[in-house]
């Protein structure tokens, strides 16, 4: 078996004096300090609310949206597949009969409690009609009351696919 001898540092006079090492370290930190002080755009911090992140991938699971047919009517057929698949039980659907000839059923009420949702994407996988998607790219949803986080069908229908994402 080969034995690898790892050299032990800190026994040379230079290391024991501490001063050269400390001076080298302080030089490094000072260089960073001066560089950032001269031009604060060198800082790595993103000034978040004003500067939004631009590195959200196409597969990012954001807030949900309900897709539409060509005639702008809701694609969902209220099959309850997503609500069944949901591990957080945050989707609530109420079905009604559909009379416009497109299909037999459509959701009368489709609410998602975003506080309950774990953003797992199972509802998207479960959907047989590609009616629910999580490609809005919305990563921060804020509100002042719990009720504001229960989003309804209109909100979900009005959500668009994120413009930063590539087209399908």
């Amino acid at each position: 078996m080969g034995v690898k001898v790892v050299p032990r540092h800190g026994s040379s006079l230079k290391d024991k004096l501490y001063i050269p090492g400390i001076a080298a370290g302080m030089k490094t930190t000072f260089k960073h300090f001066v560089k950032n002080l001269k031009d604060t755009s060198n800082l790595r911090t993103t000034q978040y609310p004003e500067v939004q992140p631009d590195d959200i991938t196409d597969r990012y699971r954001g807030v949900h949206r309900l897709t539409k047919r060509e005639d702008d009517s809701v694609k969902c057929v209220a099959c309850y597949m997503c609500a069944t698949a949901c591990p957080a039980e945050c989707i609530e659907i109420e079905a009604e009969e559909r009379f416009d000839g497109q299909d037999e059923k459509m959701p009368k009420k489709f609410t998602i409690d975003l506080l309950e949702c774990v953003y797992c994407g199972y509802c998207v996988t479960a959907c047989p009609c590609d009616a629910i998607r999580m490609d809005t790219g919305i990563f921060s949803f804020t509100g002042k009351t719990r009720e504001e986080f229960v989003v309804d069908k209109d909100y979900l229908l009005n959500n668009e696919r994120s413009k930063d994402f590539n087209d399908d």
Binding site: T28, H32, F33
Partner: protein
């Protein structure tokens, strides 16, 4: 007492109070912003009053307000409430009192009366500093011990061991300085440093380096600075705090303003250490190569130089602000704040320059010249003081904390023998060549 003497005393005490306590928010702000810049991040810059962020300075005041208004909670397992309560006060007061002996300017002469520019014109000098700097650690020891928790106790033991091993080296390094200066009075020490180490004499003017402590006694300066870091409980010697091993050490069980007092005490200790280092080794209030008489006899030239350099500094500052303190959106509060601050800086510079020009035109009496010299020297002291504080901060964000055994090794086996050796060398030089 004349009204002039009362004013001088009040100014001195105010200076000591402001430098010891009032600078804490500024130090915290510096600490966090410098730390941020060293680590390529911004540090706090969000807190604002009417859109005024002052580069994040407001955050310190917000934090202070928060600490003041927080619930003063003391855990039920604290048995000795009295000691638990006075511990932060001891830390705070001792660090604060250390400032009392720092000379801010040369002896001020008004109408023939001499005023020592110290908050407490005591005869003890450096002994006062040693006494109170050492005593501040007792607050830490007491706080940790009376917290009645394992972390607090461990921290107390560490602080006690550290103060024992570093106080010795510190005292010995000061002894070599006493031998060099031949006095224990800080004002005499600083007066001594106004001189020049003569290399050669050119037509009656001596040319050489200023007789600063660090140039005459580099080894003592190094030992003193290292031990001062340990004394102020700053990184790399903050093993008493040791948040990676013992949570927060002595202030684990403290909250609200009691914790705040510990924090203020820590920064006051840092300020006091910077002030004493500047006083002992960096010429105190002296501008290098320019002693008090030179300023007094060339006061109008000095005024001119100050006015020009002020305008230049404001120009550099505003240029920097236009580049780094602006915001793309014109209507944003940040853009507005930047513009207002630039205007305010120029107005302040203009006002100071106007006053200086007025002085140059009308001329000053003897009292006026003396007071102006004192103000200039206080300014010099402040610049040096803040630079030294910056070094404290800079070191904190560069060096790692010493391991406990390494710390003791360094204290007993390196610093103490070096300090004793330095005393021998200094004494020999003084005896052979005269002081």
């Amino acid at each position: 007492m004349s009204s002039a003497s009362i004013i001088v005393v009040i100014v001195n005490i105010l200076l000591a109070v402001v430098l010891a306590v009032g600078t804490t928010p500024i130090m915290v702000w510096w600490e966090r912003r410098v730390a941020g810049f060293i680590q390529d991040r911004t540090g706090p810059n969000r807190c604002s009053i009417y859109g005024f962020r002052l580069g994040g300075l407001i955050q310190s005041f917000a934090d202070m307000l928060k600490l003041v208004f927080k619930e003063d909670f003391s855990p039920s397992h604290v048995k000795y409430k009295f000691f638990y309560t006075i511990a932060p006060a001891i830390v705070f007061f001792c660090s604060f009192l250390t400032f009392a002996v720092i000379p801010f300017a040369d002896t001020l002469v008004i109408d023939g009366f001499e005023y020592t520019m110290q908050a407490i014109p005591t005869e003890l000098g450096i002994m006062w500093f040693l006494a109170y700097a050492g005593l501040a650690t007792y607050g830490i020891i007491l706080g940790g011990y009376s917290s009645n928790s394992k972390f607090g106790l461990l921290s107390s033991v560490r602080a006690a061991a550290q103060v024992v091993s570093y106080e010795a080296a510190m005292g010995l390094s000061i002894i070599s300085m006493l031998v060099t200066y031949g006095t224990i009075h800080l004002s005499d020490m600083v007066a001594f440093q106004g001189g020049i180490i003569e290399f050669f004499n050119y037509e009656g003017t001596s040319i050489g380096l200023p007789a600063w402590g660090i140039i005459m006694q580099p080894l003592a300066a190094l030992i003193f600075i290292v031990t001062a870091f340990a004394e102020a409980n700053r990184a790399p010697f903050d093993i008493a705090e040791g948040e990676s091993e013992i949570v927060a050490g002595y202030h684990t069980e403290y909250s609200a303003m009691r914790f705040g007092l510990f924090q203020v005490g820590e920064y006051a200790a840092m300020s006091a250490s910077s002030a004493i280092i500047v006083t002992l080794f960096f010429g105190g209030y002296h501008i290098p190569w320019v002693d008090t008489e030179t300023i007094q006899s060339n006061i109008y030239v000095v005024f001119g130089v100050i006015a020009v350099s002020l305008v230049f500094m404001t120009f550099v500052l505003t240029k920097w602000m236009k580049k780094n303190y602006s915001w793309a959106d014109e209507n944003d509060s940040r853009a507005r704040e930047g513009k207002i601050l630039v205007k305010a800086f120029w107005m302040m510079t203009g006002a100071v320059c106007l006053v200086l020009i007025l002085f140059i035109v009308t001329g000053l009496g003897t009292n006026g010249i003396n007071i102006a010299t004192a103000v200039i020297q206080i300014g010099t002291f402040l610049v040096k003081f803040f630079m030294m504080s910056l070094v404290f901060i800079w070191v904190r964000w560069t060096l790692l904390r010493f391991r406990y055994d390494q710390l003791q090794m360094l204290g007993w086996k390196v610093l103490l023998p070096l300090a004793i050796l330095n005393i021998f060398i200094t004494a020999t030089v003084v005896v052979v060549f005269g002081s």
